[in-house]
């Protein structure tokens, strides 16, 4: 049954359906509404779990790590500085191969301080060894959260469900919250074979010498690559049960014979769909929504791009001193295709800046150039900077 719910509220209800035994969190905008709603559910007896209000994100991540290691299904959520503060723990959780799910309510990173949305935070922990799934709307976030538990517990890898702060977390949308029975059918109780147990007292977190460290990294890397199958299966099974796909590894919207593609992560996909429908005079365009960023679905992406001549990567973060983060990976993934795909790399909507539909037209203009322009923040307004801060190589759009 579809209900109008705020994204955070929907996530809270969905988390409750997944029956985590331990939830720990530390407040940070824009994650707060999720945890506050969980607290309400717990207070009203609608959710049974140990909800621990810890003294930092570092402890939030650590606490759920301890709890998951002891065999409990856990949940936490954070954003921005919180993600950075817990980054050491995130690496640790993944390296220990402990299953768990967390929500990242994506937000910009300070300084300068910004409480608004972009995806620099989750990008900063890209290499932590977590599965990262990006959601383009709240229904996807709901469905992905449920799937995330199944993927995590099947692969023994932690999963970070990324949803844009405010844009999704604070937005009211009609959402279908599945019923408990459906979730219970889909998600069996957590039974962690490596859980700490006085009857089978193993030691977790040992010191590994150079003789075995490379093998540990190899195994972790391949566990992520192999998780692709589980991500696909989890979505397929969910679709059978609920009638909805949450976007599998990636999804494509647009005519199959289009030669221009735009690839995005998260909620700006919706904006681009609206723009495409507005500017019908522009060339046919495939809109590619990359849901699984880690593992990176190279094969699926190459298949989606096989007919393209130009692919614009529009992302919500950057690697200062180089440029696009996602675009560089996309470019690497698309090498040695039968016909070359030109990759155009832009950042947009940083620190919560709205993306106007006009951007769509501007993007198409970029495709017309003979040689793709270097990476830029496409909506930058240089006149707001002193001349000496424009940068010598900066293009004026």
């Amino acid at each position: 049954m579809r209900k109008a719910l705020e994204g955070s509220q929907a996530i809270a209800q969905t988390v409750a359906l997944c029956r985590p035994q331990v939830v720990a969190a530390y407040p940070i905008t824009p994650q707060t509404h999720i945890v506050e709603n969980i607290a309400k559910l717990v207070a009203n007896g609608k959710m049974e779990c140990e909800l621990v209000s810890v003294e930092s994100e570092f402890s939030a991540a650590s606490l759920v790590l301890g709890a998951a290691s002891a065999g409990s299904r856990t949940y936490t959520a954070s954003a921005s500085q919180g993600i950075l503060l817990m980054s050491e723990v995130l690496y640790n959780i993944a390296g220990l191969r402990i299953p768990m799910v967390m929500t990242c309510a994506n937000r910009a990173i300070s300084a300068p301080l910004s409480i608004w949305n972009d995806q620099q935070d989750s990008m900063a922990v890209r290499d932590a060894g977590w599965i990262q799934l990006y959601c383009s709307d709240n229904q996807e976030a709901v469905d992905t959260t449920i799937q995330a538990y199944r993927i995590s517990e099947a692969t023994e890898l932690p999963v970070m469900v990324c949803m844009d702060g405010f844009t999704l977390t604070h937005t009211l949308e009609p959402i279908d919250i599945p019923d408990q029975k459906m979730v219970d059918t889909y998600l069996p109780p957590f039974n962690f074979s490596r859980a700490l147990d006085p009857l089978k007292p193993t030691s977790v977190g040992t010191l590994v010498s150079p003789d075995h460290y490379s093998e540990a990294r190899h195994s972790h890397h391949h566990a992520l690559l192999d998780a692709i199958n589980e991500i696909v299966a989890a979505d397929t099974d969910w679709q059978q049960l609920s009638g909805r796909s949450a976007g599998s590894l990636l999804s494509v919207d647009g005519p199959a014979d289009a030669h221009i593609g735009i690839l995005t992560l998260g909620s700006i996909f919706g904006t681009l769909c609206a723009a495409r429908d507005t500017f019908t005079e522009l060339p046919a365009t495939k809109l590619i929504k990359l849901r699984s960023y880690r593992p990176f679905p190279v094969d699926a992406l190459r298949q989606a791009c096989s007919e393209l001549t130009d692919l614009i990567v529009l992302e919500r973060a950057l690697s200062p001193g180089f440029g696009g983060i996602v675009s560089s990976e996309v470019q690497a993934a698309l090498t040695h295709m039968a016909s070359e795909v030109r990759v155009h790399s832009f950042a947009v909507g940083l620190g919560g800046r709205d993306m106007p539909l006009e951007i769509y037209r501007k993007l198409h203009k970029q495709v017309e150039v003979a040689v793709p322009a270097p990476f830029s923040i496409i909506d930058v307004e240089l006149e707001k900077l002193s001349a000496e801060d424009h940068g010598t190589g900066a293009a004026t759009n």
Partner: protein
């Protein structure tokens, strides 16, 4: 590559056991049983800490059995031994030494009260037969140990009753009832006792040598040393030991008002106290010193300090550092003696000799002078063995030098201190040697290792605890008949046993087991091959030495690999 990397790198419990940290070690701890000072000091050869351990474990009978495996007469020695064990007790350097003699007496008295049987059985009829001459402590001890070793024994004594010198000890120190009970029980172990058999009279050495597999001689010292002042003696001179025997046999003494006893041994003290009790104004004149805990004991009177102390309490006047210069005689009757001060001083070669100081003369008005200056062996029947000497010369095992199968012990042996305990020790050692010889076995090596020094104990693990003191009758209550010192109770004995440091032995205190950072000390249920309750697991022992440092009793030492 044996192990496959586990997911997340987890490990299975206790798997470090595959890694033998013992390979790091350059020193290893070992259990080293070392003699406790009490053991080394005991003239009888007792290991007091060992029976104290059993008593501490509330096993009084086992404690007594262990005790009488060395000394069969604990009720006697517990009363009369000067207990050198207590003088060297390491606990004395911490608070007060253990009252070992009180425990020994307690165990002996318990055995008598409860009629515990000696843990020995009579010898087989075809076992070799040994003759023992003299039924004093040395002879009785040797007979008992010969029985323990499975030999047949016949003891000969010139008197009608076994006991020898034990009966010259006054009742207030050693009730004859105790002596009789102890000896009766001892003889009951299967010893054949022939009274009124005197060597050279009823029996003769060559016959004994012929009829018996071995002979142990313990005749005591029956002949008093000659005493006079410049060749002069009073006509009615009574010798100290003779008076003691007379007192012991018929409870009467020659009439006298005052007396000067010459000598500083136990005989001198005993007769002085008896005279004193009988209303005689009694003096002791002695060259050597009264014991003083703050001074070296080299020149001290030989009597047991405790007895000297009691004699003084009772009013005996002791003139130490004095010698007799002249007898004052009216006719042949003594009216006094002139004494003067003397000191031991080194001569030109550094040897000590006594020097009399002219001008220090004084007169003691006494009507008797009683020499108690020691005795020598009565050579009758043993002339060939003594060869003109006063005492027997024996080797470490009591064998008379140059005489096959003839052994000697007790006061008759040269260099002995004249204590009951030493005599018992002589008897035991000779019996061991005789038994080994008759079985054609090797003699065991005599353990002469250094006893555990106080500094090798760890005092952090003990708490101060006061020594049990026996009840002593006040001077007014003392008589000739009643024993002056009382025994201790079972509770007191247990308290005292608990004070023992168990020097050089395993106290089973768990310190090593508890404090090993490497769990390389394993506790055993039963006592181990080395007498402890722990085993070092050298596979894992890194050799840090903590166990040795913290062993309270000095039982663990570190040795190089």
């Amino acid at each position: 590559m044996e192990s496959k990397l586990t997911r997340g790198g987890f490990a299975y419990p206790g798997t470090t056991l595959v890694y033998k940290t013992g390979s790091w070690r350059i020193q290893r701890p070992v259990h080293t049983h070392r003699n406790a000072p009490c053991h080394s000091a005991c003239p009888a050869g007792e290991d007091p800490q060992a029976y104290l351990a059993l008593l501490d474990e509330d096993k009084p009978r086992e404690a007594w059995e262990l005790l009488v495996s060395i000394n069969p007469l604990p009720a006697i020695t517990g009363r009369v031994c000067p207990h050198p064990c207590e003088s060297v007790c390491n606990r004395g350097q911490y608070d007060e030494p253990l009252a070992i003699h009180s425990i020994e007496r307690y165990l002996g008295d318990q055995a008598l009260a409860k009629n515990w049987a000696y843990p020995v059985s009579p010898a087989a009829e075809n076992a070799p037969h040994v003759a023992v001459v003299g039924a004093g402590p040395a002879g009785l001890a040797s007979a008992y140990h010969l029985i323990r070793h499975g030999l047949q024994v016949t003891v000969f004594d010139e008197l009608s009753e076994a006991g020898g010198t034990l009966f010259t000890i006054p009742d207030y120190r050693l009730p004859r009832e105790i002596v009789r009970k102890e000896i009766e029980r001892l003889l009951d172990t299967g010893i054949s006792f022939k009274s009124r058999h005197k060597l050279g009279r009823e029996i003769h050495l060559p016959e004994l040598q012929q009829e018996y597999a071995a002979v142990f001689l313990a005749p005591g010292v029956m002949k008093s040393n000659e005493w006079s002042v410049d060749g002069v003696t009073p006509y009615d001179l009574h010798e100290g030991l003779h008076l003691l025997k007379q007192w012991s046999d018929v409870a009467s003494l020659p009439a006298m008002k005052s007396a000067a006893v010459i000598g500083g041994g136990n005989t001198a003290i005993d007769i002085a106290r008896i005279l004193n009790r009988n209303g005689v104004d009694t003096h002791i004149v002695i060259h050597s010193s009264l014991p003083d805990p703050d001074k070296p004991a080299a020149d001290d009177m030989r009597a047991i300090p405790r007895e000297i102390e009691q004699a003084l309490e009772e009013g005996v006047q002791i003139h130490d550092h004095h010698g007799v210069k002249r007898l004052i005689l009216r006719g042949e009757k003594l009216t006094g003696i002139e004494i003067l001060r003397m000191r031991k001083l080194p001569d030109e070669e550094g040897r000590l000799h006594r020097v009399a100081f002219e001008g220090t003369e004084s007169i003691l008005h006494v009507d008797q002078v009683i020499p108690a200056i020691g005795q020598v062996v009565d050579a009758a029947g043993m002339e060939t063995l003594l060869d003109g000497k006063s005492y027997f010369s024996v080797d470490d095992w009591g064998q008379i030098e140059g005489k096959e199968n003839i052994y000697a012990g007790g006061d008759a042996v040269e260099g002995n201190g004249g204590t009951v305990t030493e005599a018992i020790g002589n008897g035991r050692i000779a019996a061991e040697a005789i038994a080994a010889k008759l079985r054609q076995q090797q003699l065991p090596t005599i353990n002469k290792s250094e006893p555990v020094h106080f500094n090798s104990l760890n005092m952090e693990y003990f708490e101060p605890s006061s020594r049990v003191e026996q009840v002593i009758l006040s001077v007014e209550e003392r008589t000739c008949e009643t024993e002056i010192e009382g025994g201790i109770s079972g509770l007191q004995a247990a308290h005292e046993a608990n004070r023992c440091f168990a020097c050089g032995n395993c106290l089973r205190c768990d310190n090593c087991w508890t404090l090993c950072p490497d769990s390389a000390v394993l506790k055993t249920n039963e006592v181990t091959f080395d007498g402890s309750f722990y085993v070092f697991d050298y596979d894992y022992c890194k050799g840090c030495g903590l166990c040795a440092s913290e062993c309270p009793t000095g039982y663990i030492s570190m040795v190089n690999e």
